[in-house]
C-alpha cells in the first residue's frame, strides 16, 4: 500500500487519500470537512487536523495530536507517550492512549485504555474502560467494566462493574454487579448496584439500593437506603429509612427514619433510630435510642436503652449497669446486675442482684438479692430473695393489664 509522507512542519490540505499517511512533527492538515485515509495514519509528534479524520488505523507518538472534528477508525487507535485531543466524536475498535485522551463528542469503542487522564464531554459506550489516573465524563457511560487508579467523576452510569483506587463521584444510575472503591464514593442522584465495597467513605445524596454493602470508615445516606447486608467499620448515618436483611456497624449508627431488617443487627457503639427499629435480633455494645423497637427474637444491650413507646422482643437481656427508659416487653426478660429499668411486661422476668425496676407485670417473676421494684403484678409465681425489696407486696392477678406494643 502506498505511503504518503508529510515532512516536519508541513501544512497541507487533504481530502481522500489512498494508502497510508505518515506525518513528521508539527504538521497541520486542513480539509473541506473530512480527511479520509484508506490505510493507516501515523503522527510522529504534535499535529493538528482541521476537520474530521477517517482511517483504518491511527498511531501517534510523543506529543499532542489535535483533531478538530471526529475521529473514525475502523481498527485501533494508539497514542504512545502522547496526548490525543478530539473536539468531536471518536469511534474505533480499541483506543490506547498513554498520557491523556480528551473527547468533545460521543465516544464509542470496544475498549478504552488510558494511562493518565480520560476526559469526555458527552456520552461514552464501551465494553471496558481502564484509566490509570483520572476519569471524567460529563455524559452517560454505558459499559461492562470500568476501572481507574485515581479520581473518577461520571454523570450517569449504566455499567456492570466499577473498580476505582481513589475517589468516585457519580451522578447516579445503575451498577449492575459490583462497585469497589479504595477511598471515597459519592453518588449525587439515585443509584442502584449489585454490591459495594468502599475502603473509606461512602456518601449517597439521594436514594440508594444495593446488595451487600461494606464500608471501612463512614457511610452517609441523605435519604432512603436499601440493602441485603450492610457492614460499616466506623459510623453510619441514614437520613431516611434503612431497609435490608442484616446490618453490622462497628461504631455508631444513626437512622433518621425507620430501620427495618429481616435478620439481625449488631452495633458496637450506639444506635439511634428516630422512628421504628424492626429486626429479628439486636446485639448492641452501646446505647439504643428510638421511638419504638420491635425484635422478633433476641435483644441484648450493653448500654442504655431509651424509647418513647417501648422495646419489644422475644428475649431481652439488659447487661450489667445498663439503664432503660421506656417500657420493655418480652417473653423472657433478664435484667442483669445493677441495671436500672422502668416498667417490665413479660412472661418470665428476672432481676439480678442490685437491679432495679419501677413496675413489673409478668407471669413468673424473680428478684435476686439486692434487687428492687416498686410494684409487682404476676399471674403464676413470684420469687423474691431475702435481701430483695418490693415497695408494695407483690399481687397475684388473673390477668395482667394489656401490654404496650
Amino acid at each position: 500500500m502506498a505511503e504518503t509522507r508529510l515532512p516536519r512542519g508541513a501544512q497541507v490540505h487533504l481530502g481522500t487519500l489512498d494508502g497510508d499517511l505518515r506525518a513528521d512533527r508539527d504538521v497541520r492538515i486542513t480539509s473541506d470537512g473530512t480527511v479520509t485515509v484508506t490505510g493507516s495514519v501515523r503522527f510522529d509528534g504534535p499535529a493538528e487536523v482541521v476537520g474530521s479524520l477517517v482511517c483504518t488505523r491511527f498511531r501517534s507518538a510523543d506529543g499532542t495530536v489535535l483533531i478538530q472534528g471526529n475521529l473514525t477508525v475502523r481498527e485501533d487507535v494508539e497514542a504512545h507517550d502522547g496526548v490525543l485531543d478530539i473536539a468531536g466524536a471518536i469511534k474505533a475498535q480499541r483506543v490506547d492512549v498513554d498520557r491523556r485522551l480528551r473527547i468533545g463528542g460521543v465516544a464509542e469503542a470496544e475498549k478504552f485504555d488510558v494511562g493518565g487522564v480520560l476526559e469526555g464531554e458527552q456520552s461514552m459506550k464501551a465494553r471496558s474502560v481502564s484509566v490509570g489516573g483520572r476519569f471524567h465524563l460529563a455524559g452517560k457511560l454505558e459499559a461492562e467494566n470500568v476501572e481507574a487508579g485515581g479520581a473518577v467523576t461520571l454523570a450517569e452510569v449504566s455499567i456492570d462493574t466499577l473498580e476505582v483506587g481513589g475517589t468516585v463521584r457519580l451522578g447516579g444510575g445503575e451498577v449492575r454487579r459490583s462497585i469497589e472503591v479504595g477511598g471515597r464514593f459519592r453518588s449525587d442522584r439515585p443509584i442502584s448496584f449489585g454490591s459495594m465495597e468502599v475502603g473509606g467513605l461512602a456518601e449517597f445524596e439521594e436514594t440508594a439500593k444495593g446488595g451487600a454493602i461494606e464500608v471501612g470508615g463512614l457511610l452517609s445516606a441523605a435519604k432512603d437506603l436499601g440493602f441485603d447486608s450492610l457492614e460499616i467499620g466506623g459510623v453510619g448515618r441514614i437520613g431516611g429509612n434503612a431497609t435490608g436483611n442484616r446490618a453490622k456497624i462497628g461504631g455508631k449508627f444513626d437512622v433518621r427514619g425507620s430501620l427495618t431488617l429481616a435478620q439481625g443487627l449488631g452495633v458496637g457503639g450506639a444506635i439511634s433510630v428516630r422512628e421504628v427499629l424492626t429486626a429479628e435480633r439486636l446485639e448492641l455494645g452501646g446505647s439504643l435510642e428510638t421511638r419504638r423497637a420491635i425484635l422478633s427474637d433476641l435483644c441484648e444491650v450493653g448500654g442504655n436503652v431509651t424509647t418513647q413507646e417501648g422495646l419489644k422482643a422475644a428475649r431481652i437481656r439488659l447487661q450489667r449497669k445498663s439503664r432503660a427508659r421506656g417500657p420493655l416487653v418480652g417473653q423472657t426478660i433478664e435484667i442483669e446486675r445493677s441495671a436500672h429499668v422502668d416498667d417490665l411486661f413479660g412472661g418470665e422476668i428476672t432481676l439480678e442482684e442490685r437491679a432495679e425496676a419501677r413496675r413489673i407485670f409478668g407471669a413468673r417473676v424473680r428478684l435476686r438479692d439486692g434487687a428492687s421494684a416498686d410494684e409487682i403484678l404476676y399471674t403464676d409465681s413470684v420469687e423474691v430473695d431475702a435481701r430483695a425489696r418490693v415497695r408494695s407486696p407483690p399481687r397475684k392477678v388473673d390477668t395482667l393489664p394489656p401490654f404496650p406494643l
Partner: protein, 111 residues
C-alpha cells in the same frame, strides 16, 4: 491522581508523602502485575525520575514487587501493599470524620 480536594465540603488538602505512596500503589494495582514505570507515571501524575524513588521505597518495604517482563521491570502490588491501602483509606475516612466534627470546628474557630 487522587484528588487534593475531596468533595465540595472538604477543605483543600495538600498531598502528603503518604498520599503519594497510596496513589502509586493504586495505579500499580490497576495493571494487574504488568505496571510499567512510564504508565504508572501517567496515572500518578508524577515524573518518572521522582516516581522511581517512590517505587524503590515501596519495593524495599515489600508493598510492591518487581518482575522482568520482556526484559523490562513491571510492578505489582503485594498483599502487604493491599493491606496498606485498606488501612490508609480507612484512616483517611476516620480523620475526615473527626476533623469535620462540631467539636473540631469549634476548636478551630477558637484557635
Amino acid at each position: 491522581m487522587l484528588e487534593d480536594r475531596e468533595g465540595s465540603r472538604a477543605a483543600p488538602r495538600r498531598r502528603e508523602a503518604t498520599d503519594l505512596y497510596a496513589t502509586v500503589l493504586e495505579v500499580v494495582k490497576r495493571y494487574h502485575g504488568a505496571a510499567r514505570i512510564t504508565r504508572v507515571s501517567y496515572g500518578a501524575g508524577m515524573p518518572v525520575d521522582r516516581l522511581r524513588n517512590f517505587v524503590d521505597r515501596l519495593v524495599a518495604l515489600g508493598l510492591l514487587k518487581s518482575e522482568e517482563i520482556d526484559g523490562r521491570p513491571a510492578y505489582d502490588i503485594t498483599p502487604r501493599g493491599q493491606e496498606f491501602l485498606a488501612t490508609y483509606w480507612k484512616m483517611r475516612a476516620y480523620i475526615e470524620v473527626l476533623e469535620s466534627s462540631p467539636e473540631d470546628r469549634g476548636s478551630r474557630r477558637r484557635g
